[in-house]
């Protein structure tokens, strides 16, 4: 099954790329976005590994809720650093 192999290789490459970028990027906001991207790609990976239940949990908790909380935290950090209107 070459299509399956191609899918998995692409997915792995993207996973590693987004993980590395999320850790090394200087801007916090971009780090958070990359973290969300990583979480969603990870959910796809779980789906490929035959674990739809974990894919569901990863998408819901890993990317969705944690992502929203981190975005909120970024907002608070920005508001604190530069007191806005």
């Amino acid at each position: 099954m070459t299509a399956a192999l191609a899918f998995d290789l692409l997915l792995v490459a993207a996973l590693v790329w987004s993980a590395a970028r999320a850790l090394t990027v200087a801007d916090v906001f971009r780090g958070v976005v990359l973290f969300i991207v990583f979480g969603l790609l990870m959910a796809l990976a779980w789906a490929r590994l035959g674990a739809p239940d974990i894919a569901l949990a990863e998408a819901a908790i890993g990317a969705g809720l944690t992502g929203a909380l981190l975005l909120d935290a970024v907002g608070h950090l920005r508001a604190k650093r530069e007191p806005g209107p």
Binding site: V33, I36, P52, A63, G64, A68, G75
Partner: protein
């Protein structure tokens, strides 16, 4: 037939990854957050095709969660994270 849906899934994954270039490049924070929308539609389509190709209908549930959380992430971003004008950062 199954191999064909799988091939389409690969095609969509390539699409998704290429579109991530836009997310990585920006230039505005909103451009980056297009990732949420992107996974809300392209990611869902990939999950549905995978579910069909591998005969795992449970993936449809995961697709539902994807679509729901795209909305939550987008709302959290616009309501919370992007309150003040973040400088339009050009990178690299």
């Amino acid at each position: 037939m199954n191999s064909l849906t799988l091939a389409l899934a690969v095609f969509l994954l390539v699409n998704l990854l290429v579109a991530l270039v836009r997310v990585a490049r920006g230039p505005t924070p909103a451009d980056r957050l297009l990732a949420a929308l992107l996974f809300g539609t392209t990611g869902v389509a990939i999950l549905l095709l995978l579910g069909d190709a591998t005969g795992a209908p449970a993936l449809v549930d995961a697709a539902l969660v994807f679509a729901l959380l795209a909305a939550i992430t987008g709302a959290a971003f616009t309501r919370r994270a992007w309150r003040e004008e973040a400088p339009v950062d050009d990178d690299r």
